[in-house]
């Protein structure tokens, strides 16, 4: 409680903005889902910008999405790699956040931006996907799932949602990867990196993807290294690297490696 007050006074006046946009919940510390938000619901992966023109909720706050998440398609499916740090301003709120949301056994979503927005809307997406599966007796395609999510958040465009997610999966047309955000963007692609550390990650993956036919181990290593390099240079990314591989049978969690361990490992390799 005290912590929340400290945070509120030192940084941009966040709580009112949030309160105005949350249509269905009046209390600062409860959500409709019955989840308790600890340490104030200012907990997010967003970097507080230090702009001090205190004009209140009308101003558009530029989230920098303090995180690094990446996903890329390759011959044997999709690799999804994320960090696990959550920051509230310059304070590291957590080093063990799960930024990959398991929508269903063959669809994954990543989290960047507001934690609540990402997890809420992706859980809603999971519900829609399941209903689709029951009604049509076949799995939903990645294109359709990402379209559902994009349409859902588009209705709230301009109301302050913050979500930059990648929907990754495997359907009957092969591996699928879409980037969806709260601005209404929805793009299909072979490689995406989202967050403040994305530029560093892009550098690593772009150079590593030169050879067209990567094996699964090589691709996993590439994803891991890219996130590690991003955490090395970006202050708002860190913690552990969570690595997932999506293939024709679904997804599986490949590894969870602490960034400091990886650092020692890579340093040893260099020597």
């Amino acid at each position: 409680m005290a912590l929340a007050n400290v945070l509120q006074s030192e940084s941009v006046d966040f709580s009112n903005y949030g309160r105005k946009c949350r249509g269905f919940s009046s209390s600062l510390y409860e959500t409709e889902l019955g989840l308790e938000s600890v340490g104030g619901d200012n907990l997010s992966f967003a970097v507080r910008t230090a702009c001090s023109d205190g004009d209140g909720p009308e101003r558009k706050i530029q989230f920098l999405h303090g995180t690094t998440t990446l996903a890329f398609k390759f011959q044997h499916g999709v690799i999804v790699a994320v960090d696990s740090r959550a920051t509230a301003g310059a304070y590291i709120a957590s080093q063990t956040v799960k930024k990959v949301i398991e929508i269903n056994p063959y669809l994954l979503g990543t989290m960047a931006g507001g934690a609540a927005d990402c997890s809420f809307w992706e859980r809603l997406l999971a519900r829609q996907c399941r209903v689709y599966e029951l009604r049509n007796k076949e799995r939903i395609s990645v294109a359709a799932a990402s379209k559902l999510l994009a349409n859902m958040v588009y209705q709230y465009k301009g109301m302050g949602l913050s979500m930059g997610t990648m929907v990754c999966g495997w359907d009957k047309t092969g591996p699928g990867l879409y980037y969806v955000d709260s601005e209404g963007n929805r793009v299909c692609g072979d490689l995406f990196a989202v967050g403040s550390g994305s530029m560093y990650a892009y550098g690593i993956v772009d150079s590593g993807l030169k050879q067209k036919d990567l094996t699964v181990e090589e691709a996993c290593d590439l994803g891991c290294r890219a996130i590690y390099q991003a955490t090395y240079r970006d202050a708002y990314s860190g913690g552990q690297v969570n690595l997932y591989h999506v293939h024709s049978e679904g997804w599986n969690r490949v590894s969870q490696s602490d960034v400091l361990m990886l650092h020692q490992q890579y340093q040893a390799e260099k020597a």
């Binding site: 049509n136 939903i140 395609s141 294109a143 359709a144 379209k147 559902l148 349409n151």
Partner: protein, 251 residues
């Protein structure tokens, strides 16, 4: 007893009937016949063309309509009701393409039409649609499909079916004559549809309208010339059959 329970259709009769729905099915039985056949690589729809008045433009009376590139339907019953159902189905086909980025499966659009019809059997102040529909097409994976809906909102998949006037006669004919070899080729499937319709349609090929969908192609309406050619072929085959039987009897 029945008279008291057919006013508001949301009311069941004491013996469990929805009379308005049953009356709608009677209306369907008065409509002109339509027959649908599911072949191996082709689906065929045939309808009995009602004779038009001399001054009327023939083209405006169409009983076979495309719902999308790969799905089409024929109906029996009230033409005006059919127009509404077809419009809604066409919009739904496009909405599905927009939200799911995939064309509809035949089952999906049939389910949509059937749900629409059912909704009208369960609300105040509305009567059921007085049409039965035969919906044919190919799914993305190339499987041919034929579905039939009726005014109550149920739908079933069929290998071959008929609706409208004398549907029973036509269905019996199909049950006897729908075999693996009768649908072996596209041409045979079309001829089977014509033969089935000739059972109940007077004066031959002039009163038959035929449409086919082949895999990965859109709906094609056969021209009257083609139908005439096929009808003469069928009649020749019939004569040859009759000749053979006569010879067998005499020898």
């Amino acid at each position: 007893m029945a008279a008291r329970y057919d006013r508001a259709i949301t009311v069941f009769s004491p013996d469990g009937h929805l009379f308005q729905v049953e009356y709608a099915q009677e209306a369907v039985k008065k409509g002109s016949t339509a027959v649908g056949i599911r072949g191996k690589d082709i689906v065929v729809l045939g309808v009995e063309k009602k004779s038009v008045a001399k001054l009327q433009e023939e083209r405006t009376v169409r009983k076979i309509c495309a719902l999308d590139d790969h799905v089409c339907m024929a109906f029996a019953g009230l033409t005006a009701d059919a127009r509404i159902v077809i419009n809604r189905a066409r919009v739904e086909c496009q909405s599905h393409r927009l939200t799911v980025e995939d064309p509809v499966t035949v089952e999906y659009i049939t389910r949509h039409i059937a749900t629409l019809k059912q909704r009208y059997t369960q609300s105040n102040g509305r009567r059921p649609f007085g049409i039965s529909a035969l919906i044919v097409g190919f799914d993305c994976d190339g499987t041919p499909r034929l579905y039939q809906t009726d005014p109550s909102g149920t739908y079933h998949a069929w290998k071959a079916n008929a609706i409208g006037r004398s549907a029973k006669t036509v269905r019996e004919f199909l049950e006897k004559n729908y075999t693996e070899e009768s649908i072996a080729t596209d041409n045979e499937s079309i001829k089977l549809a014509i033969k089935a319709l000739l059972e109940v349609v007077q004066s031959g090929g002039k009163n038959i309208e035929l449409a086919v969908i082949r895999r990965n192609q859109s709906l094609k309406l056969l021209e009257s010339k083609e139908i005439e050619t096929l009808v003469t072929e069928i009649e020749k085959e019939k004569e040859e059959e009759a000749e053979k039987k006569k010879q067998k009897k005499s020898t």
